[in-house]
Symmetry: C2
Subunit: 373 residues, 2 copies
């Protein structure tokens, strides 16, 4: 028989808690609230290294293929499971959108009420739709993410609610499993460079923790350099100062006062890495390249990592043959409005074959003329 | 060491062509254009059987966790790989949105030009954003899906293009791998009932083919009953007649003249199954239940399968203990506008703790009062 029921991929993936439980703060008594998150693909680049003019082995860890469409599910399955273990009935978080979507989804599965504070007018449409559909109490705050986070902390002092923001330590623990998967998907080695967007800075902290745990347990024999990118209008770590009014098209990293600032700097310094910035134009260009040459549609914040690889490539930063993994934190479907705004508008035609042929012939010609950027 | 690098989930999932190549029409010479599609989770229901008042083992095969957010990627990886093998430079399809998103993504990865015809005003926003971002030549046709499909057939007679609509036989071949995964995820058995939405009817055809191949090769010892649901305003198979102006909120199955009509009827009859209809209200209600009790956000068409399970449950259709798998064909993020339209609107507050507390206390009270539908 060619397909063996007992073959490697026959056992159903159990979600990150069951898979990595010995590395996580859970016991046999912890209820596991899971949507079978994790196990996201490590997609090899087919075109971008050539376009960037570098000879590197480039991969995209597409975290947009988690159940709610972002890496937040890794931390949330653990945060909500622990909240359930502790008897919580209400969870609360501040969010630029991905955290609230994830919190709302997992809380609904756990039978809890979720309340999410989001900055008004600064959240991608898909993320708002998610929190609403998953039955969260959604409050749009006249303020930015940092205001929302301050309110969440104040709220938790007044009411018996579990905070599931990144200040919840279980979030980082769950998120570190992304590193475990990368090492396993690469056949038992870390990448040379781990590149990711930096907003609230929980993710760079988590990935670094994951790599170190694999290293200290002898599962990998070296550590990657951690390379973070902030958006230029929202780059407190790069600038070394809090940004009161952060601005960027990449709403998921539009954060002026990151909760995990210190640990992000530690990850950078301990790994011999970098935290730099990319402009909104560079982010937008990278998002388009990723979608139109690699077939991967990631949200703007995710594209910051790819924009960063482009920028460092221009500087001759990567040695030949280096293994580089870009984290794509969320799916492009999270923010369709932004995509429609930056992409070429559709043509329109009557349902007549001659009209359609004429239109397509011209469009295909134009496309062929511009087939390389 | 607790995590074995050589353990079942360490080998990277290679996508459906590599995984199931002996069951697919490929050779060692076929270029594999993959985004590592497939390997989608089979999520166990935690609340809906109780809400529906039935004692069944219910699972959701969440095809929204494919790279472009729908099951279409399974067929498209094969269709585009075969088009590449045959030297095609341009691919074309008609689509209610999911097919065009997938075609555009895989074509971009293959370095081909994709052209997609979509019905104007009848496509979910996320899907439009995808085709545009993946660099397709997008033409909105003043007509419905059936008009678009007629134009595609006419187009292919005039120009050297590869059609990647469901009339392309490789699509069905790729899509059948969903059945293989379900059997493997259930530990080597099929479900008793396989429930799915029916639009163009390629998917019911494909799943039935997959189950039969596993059965005839001795990998499973019986076959499931195939249970399809159409939207009431777009139910040509149920009504036994073509619908000239199909209407439904579930745009992905808004099809009046299904391409795979005959094979869908064969799947139903050979398996001892059913093809019935559910109303838009039932679809919307099921979509909300799925998101707010199970934590799974699926697009409206997907919810037709869950609405169908609710309907059959009310009739006492399922025997006690039956294993029922619902296919959730696409992610809810495909259609955020629809979700925002049907969910409760967010509250709004100043960034003041007392205002927020007051608002949350009232919302939580209301939520508790309505905690069961």
């Amino acid at each position: 028989m060619e397909i063996d029921i007992e073959s490697p991929h026959s056992a159903a993936w159990p979600g990150i808690i069951q898979r990595y439980k010995r590395y996580l703060p859970v016991t046999a008594d912890t209820p596991v609230i899971t949507l079978l998150e994790g196990n996201t693909p490590l997609i090899p680049a087919v075109s971008l290294p050539r376009l960037f003019g570098v000879d590197i082995e480039l991969y995209f860890k597409f975290e947009g293929m988690n159940p709610t469409g972002s890496f937040k599910d890794r931390g949330m399955t653990l945060a909500i499971s622990k909240a359930a273990e502790e008897g919580a009935e209400i969870v609360v978080c501040a969010s630029t959108g991905n955290t609230s979507a994830s919190a709302a989804a997992y809380a609904s599965r756990a039978g809890m009420i979720s309340t999410v504070l989001i900055p008004r007018g600064n959240i991608a449409q898909g993320k708002l739709a998610q929190a609403m559909m998953h039955g969260a109490v959604v409050v749009q705050i006249d303020g930015n993410f940092d205001d929302c986070l301050r309110l969440v902390r104040a709220l938790a002092e007044e009411r018996p609610v579990a905070i599931v923001n990144s200040i919840n330590p279980y979030r980082i623990e769950g998120q570190k499993t992304g590193s475990f998967e990368i090492c396993q998907q690469l056949g038992g080695r870390p990448p040379d460079y781990h590149v990711l967007p930096v907003g609230n800075a929980g993710n760079i902290t988590a990935y670094w923790k994951g790599y170190r745990e694999f290293f200290y347990n002898g599962l990998i024999d070296r550590l990657p350099r951690m390379i973070g990118f902030q958006a230029a209008g929202s780059a407190p770590i790069v600038r070394g100062m809090r940004i009161d009014k952060p601005e960027t098209v990449a709403t998921a990293i539009k954060i002026g006062d990151p909760a995990s600032w210190k640990s992000a700097v530690a990850a950078r310094d301990e790994s011999g890495g970098l935290i730099e910035e990319v402009t909104d134009d560079e982010i937008t260009h990278a998002q388009k390249l990723l979608a139109s040459y690699e077939g991967v549609f990631a949200e703007p914040a995710s594209a910051a990592s790819v924009a960063g690889v482009a920028k460092l490539s221009r500087k001759g930063f990567f040695p030949k043959g280096a293994c580089v993994v870009c984290i794509l934190t969320g799916h492009g479907l999270k923010d369709p409005e932004r995509a429609i705004a930056i992409a070429e508008a559709p043509a329109r035609s009557s349902a007549n074959i001659h009209a359609v042929l004429d239109l397509l012939d011209r469009a295909v010609e134009a496309r062929k003329r511009h087939s390389n950027p």
